[in-house]
């Protein structure tokens, strides 16, 4: 499948997920609610375990986002020579990202009704996954850009060829203008 086709397919998947989420009414819409004591502050209004179906929709929404990010990165990096070996590193980083995302969702699910949830660096474990893993995880993609720029984003050969093409087109265009003037 071509990269643009992948982006389109995932975008359709995201659209379907949003439609399903919008019509998902298994749990009443109670959140957020105004804080009973302090104006300008809200509470979650959660007094029961979260709806598992909604949790799965949320997980799918996040997983599709990760796939969409990776596909968009591939679209941006792609040249007429294809991905020049970036495909495998992109897939590897996306799988790590997906694993971290899944860990966040599943620790949330397992701890949400616990009386004393486990803490990591002072935060509940799912929140710690978000702050200390989800936030830095895309830096793997950043690393590809920084380290592999000459190999995957714009090779010196590509740039030299572009310079030559642009120079040739300018010469041809100048010659055509001169011809028209005569």
């Amino acid at each position: 499948m071509k990269v643009w086709g992948l982006v389109f397919a995932i975008a359709l998947g995201l659209a379907v997920t949003l439609v399903v989420a919008t019509y998902w009414t298994a749990q009443p819409q109670v959140r957020p609610i105004d804080h009973p004591e302090f104006a300008g502050m809200q509470q979650s209004g959660m007094d029961a375990e979260p709806d598992t179906g909604l949790l799965w929709i949320g997980w799918s929404f996040g997983a599709l986002q990760i796939a969409f990010f990776a596909a968009m990165l591939a679209l941006g990096a792609r040249s007429r020579r294809g991905l020049r070996g970036l495909g495998v590193p992109l897939i590897a980083a996306s799988l790590i990202y997906l694993a971290v995302w899944s860990a966040l969702v599943f620790t949330y699910h397992s701890q949400v009704s616990a009386e004393e949830p486990a803490l990591f660096l002072g935060f509940p474990t799912p929140t710690a996954w978000m702050l200390f893993a989800i936030w830095p995880c895309p830096l793997l993609f950043t690393l590809y850009y920084v380290v592999g720029f000459d190999r995957w984003i714009a090779t010196p050969q590509d740039l030299a060829e572009l310079d030559q093409t642009l120079a040739r087109l300018r010469t041809e265009s100048g010659a055509a203008d001169d011809e028209a003037d005569r």
């Binding site: 929404f61 935060f123 895309p138 093409t165």
Partner: protein
């Protein structure tokens, strides 16, 4: 020292504003053409471009609205912060190379210029310029109003200056902003961004170090207080819920590619290979600055819940209240200067792209050429847009707040929905057609405006901008595939082959 708190804060802000005026005067001598005014002569270095990209992205929202959102909703808005690494990376992958090469091939000086070159379409240029202009008016008005309100809150505490009204504060704020943008154009803008970005980074580090000392037990103490009140508020989704948070994450991660005031900077660097070094500068600076957002919001919520601080009148008071009550006067001065920096660094970028839309893009769309004496008219347009935005800010404050909220909807979400398909995807996919670009831009404007106008609440807190963006992406692909394969100019095709 405490008795000098107000004079110290005021002095910091005045010194900062004078520095901006100084940069404007310095840049005046380096601005000789419209290309200098809009593109800084395409001669910027790594650090300046990186700081300009970061500080244009981080508006006053991050220093006031961000902590306010954490105060109100707990961890929910942290998803905007967490999207940072992905948003900058995706934006660089998709556009840093392409826009710089378009600029090299066609000497483009604005985003609509690049859109017109890519699609061979003046209607696409016009729609892009129109979306930008609408966004600029709404965004600029809210930024000027925010700046004036912060200035007034400082002056109210300063003996002898406490009678100065909001109109005067709007005039002072707009005058400083417009002055350096008129004299030095984008050169003044990016070099003030350098100062502004540095102030923001320093302020954020100092605030982060201070914030958790304000509450007993530090970060763990704050978390314990929040958990006791509502365990979900300190969970990963805060009070908003999972789907709402993930919709924010998506809109801010992908939507960054559609922010014209940010991506225009990709055309200004000296060498295309610099992009690899500009990216980490922007990510690191933004991530550090976001610490202020998280720390003040969490600590103020915990302090109020604990009864250690009086309840706030409004969530957006979280940052000013923290600075007045817990920060050392000198730190408060630096952070207030940082707040002005955050607002002005975004506002100046909007002023510049707004002027480009008026004197360069819209005339080109209709007449096939831009105005004669473009530099002169660019300066006039900058003054006119600044004055109109200031008047609009006052009108919205005193007469009709709904109007600015409506145009404010043409902010991040609308730019994202309108420009992500046409720019981010269209600049990397040869099959994309001008009709598809026009449909995506028009539909996203209508959808975003409709959601705001009719106050449509989407279930589970899902952001309307996310719905509009996904819809416009799907439409963009669909319409492109259904319309005739486009003809590309050879130089544009060569750029898209790299």
């Amino acid at each position: 020292m405490e008795q000098f708190r107000s004079p110290i804060i005021l002095t910091s802000v005045i010194v900062y504003m004078l520095a901006c005026i100084g940069v404007g005067l310095w840049a005046l001598r380096r601005t000789h053409s419209a290309r200098d005014f809009f593109m800084a002569g395409r001669n910027l270095g790594v650090f300046v471009t990186g700081m300009a990209v970061f500080s244009s992205t981080l508006s006053g929202f991050a220093f006031v609205g961000g902590p306010g959102l954490v105060y109100a909703m707990g961890m929910s808005s942290i998803w905007i912060v967490v999207s940072t690494a992905m948003s900058f990376t995706i934006s660089f992958f998709l556009l840093a190379k392409r826009l710089r090469l378009f600029a090299q091939a066609r000497d483009t000086i604005s985003l609509p210029d690049a859109v017109a070159a890519r699609y061979r379409s003046e209607s696409s240029r016009f729609l892009t310029a129109l979306a930008i202009l609408l966004g600029v008016m709404g965004y600029l008005a809210t930024q000027i109003l925010a700046m004036a309100m912060v200035l007034q809150s400082i002056l109210v505490r300063t003996a002898g200056l406490d009678g100065i009204g909001l109109v005067t504060c709007v005039a002072i704020s707009a005058a400083v902003l417009v002055f350096y943008c008129v004299t030095g154009g984008i050169i003044a803008s990016v070099y003030t961004d350098l100062i502004q970005g540095s102030v923001m980074v320093i302020a954020s580090i100092l605030v982060f170090a201070t914030a958790f000392f304000a509450i007993e037990g530090g970060a763990a103490g704050a978390v314990a207080v929040l958990r006791a009140d509502d365990p979900e508020s300190i969970g990963p989704w805060g009070t908003l819920g999972m789907l709402g948070c993930m919709s924010w994450y998506f809109m801010f991660a992908v939507g960054s590619v559609g922010q014209p005031h940010v991506v225009t900077k990709y055309m200004m660097n000296k060498d295309i290979r610099d992009a690899r070094r500009i990216l980490p500068v922007s990510i690191i600076s933004y991530s550090i600055s976001a610490l202020l957002w998280i720390s003040i919001g969490l600590v103020m919520r915990a302090l109020v819940l604990q009864g250690a601080h009086a309840p706030l009148k409004a969530a957006d008071d979280a940052a000013p209240a923290f600075l007045q009550a817990y920060a050392h006067p000198i730190l408060a001065g630096v952070v207030f200067a940082g707040l002005f920096a955050a607002i002005m660094s975004t506002a100046d970028a909007f002023l510049n792209i707004g002027a480009a839309a008026v004197v360069h893009d819209i005339p080109r769309a209709f007449r096939g050429r831009s105005l004669k004496r473009e530099l002169y008219w660019a300066r006039i347009a900058t003054v006119a847009i600044g004055a109109a935005a200031a008047a609009f800010a006052l009108y919205s404050h005193y007469v009709n707040a709904r109007l600015v909220a409506l145009l404010g909807a043409f902010g991040w979400g609308t730019f994202a929905a309108a420009l992500v398909p046409a720019v981010a995807i269209g600049f990397n996919w040869k099959r994309a057609t001008p009709l598809a670009a026009n449909v995506a831009i028009a539909v996203s404007l209508v959808v975003n405006f409709g959601i705001e106008l009719f106050d449509i609440a989407i279930p589970h807190g899902i952001h309307g901008g996310t719905i509009a963006m996904v819809l416009s992406i799907v439409l963009f692909f669909g319409v492109s595939l259904l319309s005739q394969r486009p003809q590309l100019d050879p130089d544009i095709e060569a750029v898209m082959d790299v």
